[in-house]
């Protein structure tokens, strides 16, 4: 009896794998990406955005990022702006959620005012850049449904090509095509398709480095808008993992203190 059960399991196992739908396989890969990036606890980093329009005119954004991992929910993030100078000290506190709208508070230092803002606007440009808030906010598995397309090679890296579909009807995209490094389970490129299902933007991750012997972070994220000819190069610097941040560093008082 017992033996036949084991035999049956052994015989059935490959069949189960084969029977896995493209959706199940896509989800499985997304979950693996998430699992491998779980447990970092917190990090601090500085971010620079170099905005370029189609005439080559440049504009710079400087900010600092603090992120705290939250168990069973999205991350908590505090972003403080240093440049341009007129928004220096402006800070954005976000509690992202796996399901539903994120909670967001904006601190305006000139008035000392903390404003709760409508976070449904996730498709608009972040600080005039080519990144939308939804592109850089906490990438939770639950925010998309998935479909495995094929195994492919991208830039000499063996990868899985997935398609993911935003669950939120307020997303600016119908779908995204994402190339995931087969070995390290990290995204290397994402194509964004707008609400009319036309290719809008491409994001390329460059210069991955490993922190704490586990967590991969790209030094550069290059976003190119195919429809406007504009681009934004987001550079991450001075990563500091497990820097000792706690929940107390992510409230309205710490938002006002951030600067």
């Amino acid at each position: 009896m017992k033996l036949s059960l084991i035999l049956a399991t052994l015989l059935l196992a490959p069949a189960v794998t084969l029977a896995m739908t493209a959706e199940e396989r896509g989800l499985e890969i997304a979950k693996e990406v998430d699992t491998r990036d779980t447990g970092f606890h917190d990090f601090k980093a500085s971010m620079t955005m170099l905005l370029k329009n189609r005439h080559g005119e440049e504009s710079l954004r400087d900010m600092r990022n603090q992120t705290l991992e939250v168990e069973n929910d999205g991350d908590k993030t505090l972003v403080v702006f240093d440049e341009p100078r007129d928004v220096k000290g402006t800070a954005l506190l976000s509690f992202s959620h796996k399901v539903g709208d994120d909670d967001q508070w904006l601190y305006l230092p000139a008035l000392k005012r903390v404003k709760r803002i409508a976070s449904r606007n996730k498709s608009g440009p972040f600080m005039g850049s080519e990144f939308a808030y939804e592109d850089i906010s906490s990438q939770e598995v639950e925010k998309y449904t998935y479909k495995f397309i094929e195994e492919s090679e991208h830039d000499g890296i063996a990868s899985y090509l997935l398609e993911r579909y935003p669950v939120d009807p307020n997303s600016g995209y119908t779908r995204q095509q994402m190339w995931v490094d087969k070995e390290r389970y990290i995204p290397i490129k994402i194509d964004y398709y707008d609400r009319k299902n036309v290719l809008l933007k491409t994001l390329v991750f460059r210069g991955y480095q490993q922190y704490l012997d586990q967590y991969w972070r790209a030094d550069e994220m290059f976003m190119e808008n195919h429809q406007t000819g504009k681009s934004t190069l987001l550079t991450w610097k001075q990563y500091d993992f497990r820097s000792g941040l706690t929940d107390a560093d992510f409230n309205k008082n710490s938002l006002k203190r951030a600067r």
């Binding site: 007129d86 409508a118 976070s119 107390a248 008082n253 600067r259």
Partner: protein
Amino acid sequence: MPGLLSAGEWSGYAELQGRYFPQDAAYENQSDHLISLAFQPEYYQRWDNGNQSLLVVPFFRWDSEDEERTHADIRELIWTYAGNRWEAQAGVGKVFWGVTEALHLVDTINQTDLVENPDGEQKLGQPLIKLSLERDWGILDFYTLIGFRERTFPGDEGRLRSNPPVDQDYAEYESDREERHLDFALRWSHYIGDWDIGLAHFNGTSRDPLFIPRFGNRGEIRLIPFYEQMHQTSLDLQATKGDWLWKLEAIHRSIDSGSYNAATGGFEYTLVGIADTDMDLGLLGEYLYDDRGDEATTPFQNDLFVGFRLTANDVDGSELLAGVIKDMDESSWMFNLEASRRIGSDWKTSAQIRVWSDIAEQDPLYSMRRDDYAELTLTRFF
């Protein structure tokens, strides 16, 4: 000890401002334009692994027409200690409470620097000691306010003034301790899901003066500000529901001259990415109420505010806010427009247009009926 004291950091801005008043002045010696310069440097230093910090923000303004508007202030000179789930502050500080746009009823800690702008959004620094507890059930702030700041008022030659003008050199107080009265305030604020709530109580010198007519040195009539003692309990509430923000501010104020209730409430609805662009259009509506009615010391006793906010989300951060406040009892209405955009990374231009129209004679704004103005400001940040 290495790393104990990090280098201080300087920043700030300087601005050049011009205002033009198209209508003839209502009162003698008032001019039809002004040029003004302002300078606000900022020094910030943190130490003790960032747990302690000092912020120093002096402010200076020179005005070509109004000697009362040429003034200086210490906006901030404050030491902050950030503990584990608590915070202490001492010095001269600035505090904002509230959620609504047209009027800030609940915001009471800082005095209004009225000569800066008739909208009352600019504030004078307030000497204070603050202790803040950060708990799972919200943030609890205890304030001791050491000493009182008098409101600034335009001088005889300034536009946007009352008639007769206010003489701030002879302010009077209900309290024998006058401007040395110690004020106290307590505030609890928290958020629960989509809701942000603030409850506060203030006991001390009212920031809003009454005005007593008195004869000046030359036999002319002057208004003398009289500052009463008050108890004020306030509520501010915001519900953030998708693209809708629902807002309410309400106060109950007990003063010798009569207790009253006032409230402002309304919404902001944002249309995201209008007409296939990156632009957002916010529609605003608020109702302003004061149960003293005609006896109210504010012009906003039964008024409606409607407006819109256009945010371009472009590289230059272009913004436009325009609105009308209409008195539902009188003919009076006022129109406001504020627009700004960045030039490069260090400069910004902003424009303001304010129009007061059909102001009824009994309206507190009557003396400003001819003071419509357009303002252009160029700011350099450093």
